[in-house]
């Protein structure tokens, strides 16, 4: 409530300010009009006097007619002061009042020079109409007073100079002043209406400005909220992207760990059944008959079996050893595989934002490598078509997140796709306009055309286990790389191609542009 009151008061103050500005503009503009108009009417008066009564005569000699002198000097005096004020002090009430007075004095002079012709009185009414340009009732006060005073004085002492007749009633000035007041009435009504409209305009402008300011403030606040939300989304998307990679890594490591676990179980089982206990029992028996081992082996019923037992045990242990060596090799291989996966992950585990010179083909290979086990298990064929590119400067973490995400997306698409021949193609090329293009194409389930426009929207996904962050995050990252992410699909069941394009920032050595193709099954 308090804020609302303050806002209304502010708007009223602003409306008053705008009204004053508008009024001042009109005052100054009208001052300028009179600064031009008054000299022109003065020149017109001089020209008229020059035409009607240029000379006065005494017999055969002539001199300038006093009417011409009056039109020039008196008219100039009447004109000069208001015009000077209009130029030096525009917009002042005093200037307006002086102009109104001067304009009416000019009317009086012209009426006199024209011999009190009634037609010249129209100058009074025309001048009042011009004064109405000010939209200020106050200018009519001096104007009307000057007209009335002029008609009173001249009507009393020299009626023919103003009324055109010598026998006019001493009260005839009232009729003339009455007509002036008659016009004043309409002009004052017009001025009041104009001022009212100006106030309305000012109020509307103030309201509009207030509304605009509130909208701008709202927009700023909403923009800040949106930016904050976008940043939060970006962080979430990055975390989701990193989680995708981590999931892939853990998944792959988990798969390898399964193999290692199997190998370890086999080793444990083999060790458990290695015959060591039998050997220990046999050697114990042997120790008991060390004083006469020959008799024991030849005469004792159990001793007779001992040599054969040793022979069989040795054969069995040899076989076990070979199996154990194979399993240890497999275990070692699995551990090596885990080490490799972790090493690749460590390579991209650092924070993004660091631009460095990289070979994109290596990054693409690493991206495939991260998911290699899963791809192999799903029997997905990965084809690579790389154009020869120079090393470029890029934020490799962002690039990897995008590609890993696209590969993961493609993997799911081909797994759910209609064909048994699962294939993902990675293309690296450089279009002619100095950009780099990475395409990840698959022959998977494809994308419905209605989904093409919103596939990069946050939260949009067609997979049950999807969270809708991956492609949104990839698109954001592509923008951060100074490029963009696009998608093409011929429709459901016809695969899809995701295209990452960005500007080639740094160009090193360029080799031939032959396409290097490689296919991993």
């Amino acid at each position: 409530m308090s804020n609302c009151t303050i806002r209304v008061t502010d708007e009223e103050m602003r409306a008053a300010e705008l009204f004053r500005e508008h009024q001042q503009t009109i005052y100054r503009r009208t001052d300028r009009i009179f600064a031009v108009l008054m000299p022109l009417q003065w020149l017109a008066g001089v020209a008229t006097a020059l035409w009607i009564s240029p000379l006065t005569w005494t017999g055969t000699t002539s001199r300038l007619h006093p009417h011409l002198i009056a039109a020039t000097l008196l008219g100039g005096l009447i004109t000069a002061f208001p015009v000077a004020l209009a130029l030096c002090r525009p917009g002042r009430l005093g200037t307006r009042a002086t102009i109104a007075t001067g304009q009416m004095l000019m009317s009086a002079l012209l009426i006199h020079l024209m011999g009190g012709r009634i037609e010249t009185h129209f100058h009074v009414f025309g001048s009042l109409a011009f004064l109405a340009f000010y939209r200020d009732w106050r200018v009519f006060v001096p104007a009307t007073l000057v007209v009335a005073l002029d008609h009173i004085v001249r009507g009393l002492f020299w009626p023919e100079s103003v009324f055109g007749v010598l026998t006019a009633s001493p009260w005839r000035w009232l009729e003339h002043a009455g007509w002036v007041l008659f016009e004043d009435t309409f002009l004052l009504i017009s001025c009041a209406q104009s001022v009212r409209e100006m106030r309305d305009i000012a109020r509307h402008r103030a309201q509009l400005e207030g509304t605009n300011q509130r909208i701008e403030a709202e927009v700023v606040a909403r923009t800040a909220e949106l930016r904050s939300a976008q940043e939060e989304n970006l962080r979430m998307a990055r975390r989701a992207g990193m989680a995708d990679i981590a999931t892939n890594v853990l998944h792959n490591v988990g798969n390898v760990l399964n193999s290692a676990n199997v190998s370890a179980s086999i080793i444990s089982d083999k060790l458990h059944k290695s015959g060591t206990a039998d050997l220990r029992r046999a050697t114990s028996l042997w120790e008991q008959h060390l004083d006469d081992p020959g008799a024991y082996v030849t005469s004792d019923p159990r001793g007779k079996h001992l040599p054969r037992f040793f022979i069989e045990l040795g054969r069995q242990m040899t076989a076990n050893e070979e199996n154990l060596q194979a399993e240890v090799a497999a275990l070692s291989k699995s551990i090596g595989h885990i080490k490799e996966i972790v090493a690749v992950q460590q390579n991209y585990a650092g924070g993004s934002g660091f631009v460095e010179e990289v070979d994109l083909t290596e990054l693409l290979d690493d991206a495939v490598q991260i998911d290699a086990a899963s791809l192999a298990r799903q029997k997905i064929e990965v084809s690579r078509e790389y154009s020869e590119l120079p090393r470029i400067r890029i934020d490799k973490q962002k690039f990897m997140q995008i590609v890993v995400n696209l590969l993961s997306n493609a993997k799911h698409a081909v797994v759910e796709g209609p064909t048994e021949e699962r294939r993902i193609t990675i293309r690296l090329s450089r279009p002619a306009d100095g950009r780099v293009r990475v395409e990840v194409a698959d022959n998977g389930i494809g994308i419905e055309s209605k989904n093409l426009t919103r596939i990069f929207s946050q939260g949009f996904t067609t997979r049950k286990e999807g969270h809708g962050f991956g492609l949104h995050s990839a698109a954001n990252l592509a923008t951060e790389l100074g490029g963009g992410l696009m998608v093409h699909s011929a429709g459901p069941g016809r695969g899809a191609t995701f295209i990452l394009e960005f500007v080639l920032k740094h160009q090193g050595h360029t080799h031939d542009k032959s396409v290097l193709s490689r296919t991993d099954a």
Binding site: W57, T58, L74, L77, R89, E160
Partner: protein, 222 residues
């Protein structure tokens, strides 16, 4: 150059105090009032009325039984103030076309009379209904009638007696109702008037060095 710029700048930035401003306005108004007063004085100052003869010189009298009153106006051919008088005369002549003879003597200069017919005052005089327009080089006729100011009107009765002498405007160049015109109209209507004379407003017909004198009889009327 610097000084001129500085002066110009000072002029535009000149900001008088409130009292000085009112003084300026007062000075301006007083100056204008003085100017208007000077102008009114000029227009209201009558010219010399001279001493017209009480009886029309014989040369201007018909002497016939159907003789009519004679209304004579003397006009300086270049006097702009007399336009108003000619307008008034036209009104009188129009109203009394059947009862009065009107004669206008246009005072010209013998040196510059050629091309007189092209002046606007001549055209205006020629347009007065029924008027006999006569060029009066060097104001010879005017001097015979001893009138000295442009716009002077003399009304002689049918018997040649002077009925009215003076102007028919109230001031220089200002037409409209006035005592002189009223007096002439009254006399032409056959009524007596209390004011058979009136001031004349117009340019002097003669140079100060050449006063009007009656040297010969009037020329014959038309």
């Amino acid at each position: 150059m610097f000084a001129a710029d500085s002066l110009r700048s000072s002029f535009w930035k000149f900001k008088p105090s409130r009292a000085a401003g009112w003084c300026l306005v007062a000075a301006w108004l007083i100056s204008v009032a003085v100017g208007l007063k000077w102008l009114m004085d000029f227009d209201m100052t009558p010219g010399a009325v001279g001493s017209p003869p009480a009886n029309c010189p014989s040369a201007f009298v018909h002497g016939s039984s159907d003789a009519r009153p004679l209304l004579i106006m003397f006009v300086h051919s270049n006097c702009p103030c007399s336009r108003a008088g000619l307008v008034e005369l036209a009104g009188i002549a129009e109203a009394n076309r059947e009862t009065v003879d009107v004669c206008i003597y246009l005072r010209t200069s013998s040196r510059t009379s050629s091309g007189l017919e092209t002046t606007s005052l001549w055209e205006q005089a020629a347009a007065v209904p029924g008027a006999n327009l006569v060029s009066d080089p060097d104001g010879e006729v005017a001097s015979r009638f001893q009138v000295q100011t442009s716009g002077h009107v003399l009304l002689y009765g049918a018997a040649g007696e002077l009925l009215y002498s003076g102007g028919i405007t109230a001031s220089r160049g200002h037409g409209g109702d006035n005592p002189g015109r009223t007096a002439v109209l009254e006399l032409l209507a056959g009524r007596r008037t209390a004011e058979p004379q009136h001031a004349v407003f117009g340019c002097p017909l003669f140079d100060p060095a050449s006063p009007a004198t009656i040297e010969s009889s009037c020329p014959a009327q038309k």
